[in-house]
Symmetry: C2
Subunit: 211 residues, 2 copies
């Protein structure tokens, strides 16, 4: 995916694309401005024309990351399902299906950066928090609707379950990196799906036929 | 906790302690050898006497991290509980109780490092994978025993559930960093505990009295 698919990408677009891919491959601190320029195919002058610093590119890339993610999940087929519980499970099935290919291509820019910069770069931390929190907010709405529709009275909230889905995905990326394989991440998404089915008392078999 | 509590710490011990705390606070790539020496109160000469590189210190620190973790959880009160399911829930209760104070003090050295270096530093990645995997193996044994004792026939394995607990903890650290608070991490450990209670068909109320 590129920063802009409708018009010719500008130097700014190319730098944002480069940031999303290089930072996910080697982390934020290890990525230099020179490397970002080389990956984007732009000059250092062009870099500093668009961004005062590497930090400001990181913040812009996180904002773009959120927009891309919103567009992608917003257009996904599961969004057309009538039952909000089916949409939540459909979301998880899509997340599981996305665990393919090189790790740097399915992991999260925000989660990768915040892991190392949370204490040293408050602006990047805020951008990452907003990105992950904004994504969870979309799920929270469907979880709240599903609780109402399926008459679930619970000691947990829609908000905490939405955040828990992001916890599992972020943790699954780390275990995939540590083990050098994606099966562990897929298995964790399966555990999360099973948990949500249990919370909503949906028989696992019916759910299996669906997925 | 220090690298050695029984004898006077050596320069090597001090460097390992410094690595565990500085890397968890600011990430691996952002941590310089100079900073590690300053935090340890040792000379650069002493550093290179003990470690050929920052990478080799990171590998040694990860090994020490695993030993510390094994000693701490091995000595925990929950290990004396008779029912392996109680030991698993006791482990989660302890992990939840540990989510206190500054983020850098309760997060995981291995998870922090592997997030950024997985593709660039294969030796560190292997050490982190061994650390997380070794910790999960201890839980796997108790989960397997609990499945037998509670006659659980399941589509999931003890191994995948043990790894899932580590996924949730690693992800909880990331959300705590992103949101700048620990409540989100505590809520995720609660979700994980509820999931395990549901899998083992343990009434949540009985479990609540216990915790």
């Amino acid at each position: 995916m590129t920063a802009s698919t409708r018009k010719l990408p500008t130097a700014r677009d190319k730098l944002i694309d480069a940031a999303m891919s290089v930072i996910r491959a080697k982390g934020y601190a290890a990525t230099s401005v020179d490397e970002l320029c080389a990956a984007a195919g732009v000059t250092k002058g062009a870099f500093f024309h668009h961004f005062p610093s590497k930090d400001s590119l990181a913040v812009a890339a996180t904002g773009h990351w959120s927009e891309m993610s919103e567009a992608m999940f917003g257009a996904a087929a599961y969004q057309r399902l009538d039952d909000p519980l089916d949409r939540i499970l459909g979301y998880l099935d899509l997340r599981r299906a996305m665990l393919r290919g090189p790790v740097a291509e399915f992991t999260c820019l925000a989660g990768t950066m915040v892991q190392e910069v949370y204490g040293t770069h408050p602006e990047i931390r805020r951008a990452c928090g907003a990105s992950i929190g904004g994504h969870a907010a979309g799920l929270q709405r469907d979880i709240a609707l599903a609780m109402k529709r399926h008459r679930i009275r619970a000691s947990w909230t829609a908000d905490s379950l939405a955040l828990h889905t992001q916890v599992v995905l972020q943790g699954a990326f780390i275990l995939a990196k540590a083990k050098g394989e994606t099966a562990v991440a897929e298995a964790s998404v399966d555990h999360l799906r099973r948990y949500i089915e249990l919370l909503f008392r949906r028989p696992a078999k019916a759910a299996k036929r669906k997925s």
